[in-house]
Amino acid sequence: MTHSLHRRGDYDSLKEDFVVLGCPATGVNKKGSAPKTQKFLSICYKHGPINLGDMKTGNIYNTTMDDILAKVTDGTIVQCTFDNREKIVSLLKDLKENRPGISIIISGVTEVVQQCMDEAGLGRIHSLEYSLGAWGQIEKLPDFYILEATTMCGHAMISADLVRKMVRDVKRGRRTAEDACLEMSRCCTCGNYNLTRGIKLLKKLTAHYMVHTLY
């Protein structure tokens, strides 16, 4: 399950994009993990995530924080998306002092994540996973600019056509960039969609495309 790994973008676009996951381990600490996961969620919430969710329940843009917390069971994997490096450092300091006991993972620019861990006094990254990109018939993929937006949902629930339609709607004045990104965030059930980054990307996209070339 690598849905926060293959986010496309350059350093400037990704340096303020973090997905923090809390994951209990089957056969080790999954039994009785619900309160630990709820504690992890509550700590994250305190530090102001831009999105947050559990793939089975939904994210804060299609349900409520109370609903997400209430539906956490043993084994639930939750994710919180942050748009700010400072928030990550303060979150890590808090997690160091108040360890929930489940595994915690951060997807982000490796060098930035390591700097944040150093600042929080957490030492070196324990284990990591790199993406080697897309292989095979890559000519089937949409443009890089569209991929930057769609790959924020690793389950591919934000389609390339939806991004094109949202760009067209923004260009035609039917929606604001903020409304368009809210719509896309609702499709990404897990809560991995970073709205702050999404708005920046959408504004960049509107400059790149003519209405008649879009969906």
């Binding site: 399950m1 293959h6 080790v28 324990h126 897309a134 993929l141 389950h155």
Partner: protein, 253 residues
């Protein structure tokens, strides 16, 4: 996913939500004069459910009927809300490196190699998944499959990567082959994947997992650099905060 022909008004609002692209066609209603509805191409649809969950249909025409084997594998792998009972993890994969700090799934000297077919946003048939699995398992690199992964469960022969014949014609938004091998076999694994990439009718993403040693280089990075393989500036990072901690080194406190 289907659209109820008696309810659908062919407004097209659901079209852009489909991750598989434009897979709908217009049909004339046989009994209601002048009525047009949409039909979703069942061959292309992966039953991911995003059109239904988006609540975009103004007349509630979209519906997901219960599917039987083998079609049900589409929803299992494509709909993030469905949990595959074999892995006990929602979605397409396993816990992989997310719980490495407490499980020790990837020890020093071992690398996780995952291949996710159909990603990003193209979709993949299981006949292509089989090609990649068989290439990895026949490469002589000691590729050890993650047993709790859904794709592993669909294999009729786990030693060769052969999938059940009845799933080969099924399609998923994406399907992950997960496993591990020794670090020294990583160059060969990459070579095999480069070759099989030319044979599949889709795209796939490749991911590599490593334990980070207390000091020195992350062992997979010099391999990528030596082979001149692109790797991402962003990564998924386990912070090592899980409890109880797995003991990776004899001198570890």
């Amino acid at each position: 996913m289907k659209a109820d022909s008696d309810k659908c008004i062919a407004c097209k609002r659901c079209f852009p939500y489909c991750p598989m692209g434009r897979i709908q066609s217009f049909k004339r209603h046989e009994k209601i004069h002048g009525r047009v509805y949409i039909e979703i191409d069942q061959e292309s649809c992966t039953d991911c459910g995003v059109c239904l969950r988006s609540n975009i249909c103004p007349v509630n025409a979209l519906f997901q009927q219960p599917e039987t084997w083998p079609r049900e594998v589409r929803g299992i792998l494509s709909n993030p809300l469905i949990e595959f009972k074999g892995s006990q993890v929602p979605g397409r994969g396993t816990e992989e490196m997310k719980t490495n700090d407490v499980k020790g799934s990837f020890l020093p000297g071992e690398v996780g190699v995952g291949v996710e077919l159909g990603r990003p946003g193209i979709g993949a048939y299981f006949r292509d998944v089989e090609k990649v699995a068989m290439a990895l398992l026949s490469a002589g690199i000691g590729y050890e499959l993650a047993m709790e992964n859904p794709v592993t469960h669909f294999m009729s022969d786990k030693s060769t990567g052969k999938l059940r014949d009845d799933v080969l014609g099924e399609k998923a938004t994406s399907a992950i082959i997960e496993g591990k091998c020794k670090l020294e076999q990583l160059p060969r694994a990459i070579e095999v994947l480069k070759k099989v990439a030319e044979e599949v009718d889709t795209v796939f993403t490749v991911e590599v997992i490593s334990k980070v040693p207390p000091e020195g280089d992350v062992p997979i990075v010099p391999v990528f650099e030596r082979l001149n393989v692109w790797y991402s500036i962003n990564s998924k990072n386990n912070l090592g905060l899980g409890e109880p901690r797995f003991k990776f080194y004899s001198d570890q406190p």
